[in-house]
Symmetry: C2
Subunit: 209 residues, 2 copies
């Protein structure tokens, strides 16, 4: 079975989703051409981007068979198939399911709430939304705090989010926490296990991308 | 490699995510014990549920090794590994990535927007939210319309959402559309391809679960 290879990534390098793919590739030691899409100028809404990607999102992966792949986790899963080591998404079916469970918890509880707070309360992020709803941003702030406390609880019992080793779940949570910088705030007080994990992940070479 | 089997599913059978798993299992012709969790009475927030599942969500899958798995798509991927046929999530790495791409588009654009509209504009759904934000529900109504028009466009060029055959992406979109009943509205006018697909999916035996 010959799989199409990865040709290039269209991204907006400071945005959380493209960063997840970049860190995933760095962990795999895969280097690939990058094309920057200026999302603050709305380039992702342009017909040229939408026609190519079939979506107005970044990142987009261009494959050697001329097709394009969107959706961060779909791109990561494809990269995992092309470059199985180091394993980041599970070595057998049970582990794959457990990692996906934690990855999705990080996505829906941690990353999405942080993103909603940012996109609905920071005026400059209006460019990314059809309509900002500040009431929603404020409601998500308390959901975000709860999610971070829950993550701290998890990290009191496990060295990494999905278990004994670093996986895509850690990448999602790390990028989410790093993105909190735009909110000029950190995790709630008392989240020592979360901060300790954060420092360990930050020390990895992939965290500098 | 001997994988733990599926023992039972904790669910709230009318809610969209448990329905996705039920339809997935019906397509696989897998029968399993069901335990109903009354989410309108808040049973999913009770300590007993949270301790078992590690999350306050449904569905939860109990496995024969005594562990529990949450997150709809993680459960489906595990069921796919236990029961590979009929294939619903991809037969090779490229197809798996394309199906995951479409599945996630359906989840984030179609299902999530419909769920936000319902949970933030229907008073009885207050029980499911920490805080209803009606402004958010209204903003998501236009996102929902855009998403359904986009899905109609896709279905003008493809018999099923991810390509030539029925997959998990169709399950997510079908459950989402069916859930629109609580909003007492359907897709925007002119979505003929979407309605035609809807009727074809509705005719499958799995759609009756």
């Amino acid at each position: 079975m010959s799989l199409p290879t990865l040709v290039r990534i269209f991204e907006s390098h400071r945005a959380p989703n493209p960063r997840r793919v970049s860190i995933f590739l760095a962990e795999k030691r895969v280097e690939v051409e990058r094309v920057e899409v200026d999302i603050m100028a709305g380039e992702h809404f342009a017909d040229a981007h939408r026609k190519k990607a079939g979506s107005h999102h970044v990142p987009v992966a261009e494959l050697s068979d001329g097709s394009f792949l969107t959706e961060t986790v779909a791109i990561c899963r494809y990269v995992e198939a092309l470059h199985p080591e180091p394993n980041l998404m599970g070595a057998d079916a049970k582990e794959t399911a457990v990692i996906e469970m934690w990855q999705r918890r990080m996505e829906f509880s941690v990353l999405q709430n942080i993103a909603f707070v940012a996109r609905h309360t920071i005026p400059a992020m209006q460019a990314l939304e059809h309509e900002q709803v500040p009431e929603w941003g404020r409601a998500c702030a308390s959901r975000m705090e709860e999610a971070l406390k829950g993550l701290d609880e998890r990290l009191r019992e496990s060295p990494f989010i999905a278990g004994a080793r670093f996986t895509i779940a850690d990448i999602t949570a790390w990028v989410a926490l790093d993105f909190m910088r735009v909110l000029r705030r950190g995790p709630p007080d008392g989240c020592e296990a979360l901060l300790e994990w954060h420092d360990r992940v930050k020390a990895r070479p992939s965290a500098t991308v």
